[in-house]
């Protein structure tokens, strides 16, 4: 049974329905006992990083999540859920030196897109609109010209250039670049997905990414269990 964690951050129905559509058993879980009973866990979420951590703690879900991670069962963070797996985030932090702590499962920082990240356009104005809202292409190698096949089993079967749907103003920067499973370009490359042993995550919304996204969710549901 795939558990889709409900901690009060956003719409979980579409993630659950996507797994059901693919023929996998899935249900929304919200308490410690049902999280512990899942064979694999999805940590979704939209919204603010600090709110997300506060809600996880208010509901006593931090330890149950960390236990699932430690048990080797497959975990998938989506969007804000990906970011919460990191060490810390600069979102709403008093300063970059005092970031908001996350779950600390994957070492690294969550950082903000800035409109000037890609430099100025030909009209002299910043190129980027923040948040990024829309489709973008994935790469699995060093850059967009590197047509490597995916290394992570989460991305198995996808071609370089496959498009997925992003809605985010912040992105993860893992300390270990080797965990990066896919990148995309938004004023420069950023980590669009990572796989670190049994812990996987995507910044985009697979449940909103049509056939490509469903393939990723199906891959997750078929990963070897613990």
């Amino acid at each position: 049974m795939i558990g889709v964690l409900d901690y009060g951050m956003g719409n979980l129905r579409s993630v659950e329905k996507a797994f059901l559509h693919l023929g996998h058993e899935a249900k929304v879980v919200g308490d410690s006992a049902s999280v512990a009973a899942c064979s694999r866990l999805v940590l979704p979420g939209v919204g603010n990083f600090a709110d997300g951590m506060r809600l996880l703690d208010e509901r006593g879900l931090r330890e149950p999540i960390l236990k699932v991670v430690a048990s080797g069962r497959p975990v998938l963070g989506v969007c804000m859920g990906m970011q919460l797996l990191m060490t810390s985030s600069t979102e709403d932090a008093p300063s970059d030196d005092a970031p908001v702590p996350g779950l600390g499962v994957v070492p690294g920082r969550v950082r903000a897109f800035t409109p000037t990240r890609g430099g100025a356009g030909s009209d002299g104005r910043p190129r980027l609109k923040v948040p990024q809202m829309g489709w973008n292409a994935l790469s699995f190698g060093a850059d967009a010209d590197d047509a490597s096949a995916p290394g992570s089993p989460l991305m198995a079967g996808l071609d370089p250039g496959a498009h997925v749907y992003f809605v985010h103003g912040y992105y993860c920067t893992p300390d270990d670049p080797a965990v990066t499973a896919a990148t995309a370009d938004y004023g420069g490359r950023f980590c669009a997905a990572f796989s670190s042993q049994n812990v996987h995550a995507c910044q985009f919304h697979p449940e909103k990414s049509q056939a490509v996204g469903l393939k990723i969710l199906d891959n997750f549901a078929r990963l070897p269990g613990a």
């Binding site: 609109k129 292409a137 079967g157 250039g161 496959a162 909103k208 049509q210 393939k215």
Partner: protein, 276 residues
């Protein structure tokens, strides 16, 4: 930056769920359902429709029309709408934009702006204010006999019938300030004409704000999409009738945009979707 090709649902155009499935399969980048409640007093029908679309279409979709309160927004999000588009309510009670953004985030908060050009004298007489922007002509080239070439871009509601006394540019900045994460800009001068998007109004609004702007109204061909995407900072184009009546397919449209050098997501079956 990838440009979106969005599809807007037409009122009374058949079962929205079936239509949504068709456009999902055809590779539309996003579905936008507007004014679906306007034709029905039974709002439960809307929530049920949204729920069924969300269960079957794994793609972004926006629902708007008839939203009056944050409770309406909450019910739409709970039914599975990823984004809600607020139009008249944002004019009458702008705080609904702040409340929606606070509860569901900027990314879920879309504001529809329907500007229409009105003669300068008429605007000043009604509002007693000097407008921020005065334009030279309507997209159809027609000028005012009273004041040749003097127009104000005024926000309208009720499909362009009701003027609000509010100018489009300061209004666009205000709703973004209040929390709108996206603007759907439907020019009431261009809407229904099929002679092309309102390049002037779209350009002005897209330059005034730093959130994505979706151009809407007036599309008669993929060339019109290319024009507005190349000549303005619009991020996506929305069209209904050219797809609905089968004048152009989504795949055809995307090929035309790609051939013009615009970054678009290929339609299914094209290269780069899923490996075998």
């Amino acid at each position: 930056m990838v440009k979106g090709v969005n599809f807007v649902e037409l009122r009374d155009a058949g079962d929205p769920v079936e239509i949504a499935r068709g456009y999902d399969a055809a590779g539309a980048d996003e579905l936008v359902f507007l004014d679906i409640t306007a034709s029905s007093d039974n709002r439960d029908i809307t929530y049920d429709m949204v729920r069924r679309v969300a269960e079957q279409c794994f793609m972004p979709f926006t629902v708007g029309g008839g939203i009056r309160t944050v409770d309406d927004v909450t019910r739409l999000v709970q039914a599975g709408a990823e984004k809600v588009s607020i139009n008249t309510a944002a004019v009458l009670n702008p705080d609904i934009v702040n409340q929606t953004a606070k509860r569901f985030g900027r990314c879920a908060t879309v504001v529809n702006i329907d500007p229409k050009r009105v003669p300068y004298d008429d605007f000043v007489a009604r509002t007693g204010r000097e407008p921020e922007w005065v334009g030279s002509a309507r997209p159809d080239g027609e000028s005012s006999t009273a004041n040749p070439g003097r127009f104000v871009l005024e926000v309208h509601t009720h499909g362009g019938r009701t003027p609000t006394g509010i100018e489009a540019l300061p209004y666009a900045r205000e709703v973004v300030e209040r929390g709108a994460g996206e603007i759907i800009l439907t020019s009431m001068d261009a809407d229904g004409t099929k002679v092309g998007y309102d390049l002037e109004a779209t350009g002005l609004v897209a330059d005034a704000v730093d959130v994505p702007v979706v151009a809407s109204g007036g599309c008669g061909s993929p060339e019109h999409m290319i024009d507005v995407l190349q000549q303005t900072r619009a991020d996506a184009v929305l069209a209904a009738s050219i797809f609905h009546y089968g004048t152009y397919s989504i795949a055809q449209t995307k090929q035309a945009l790609a051939a013009a050098g615009l970054a678009v997501r290929p339609a299914p079956g094209a290269q780069g979707v899923i490996g075998t």
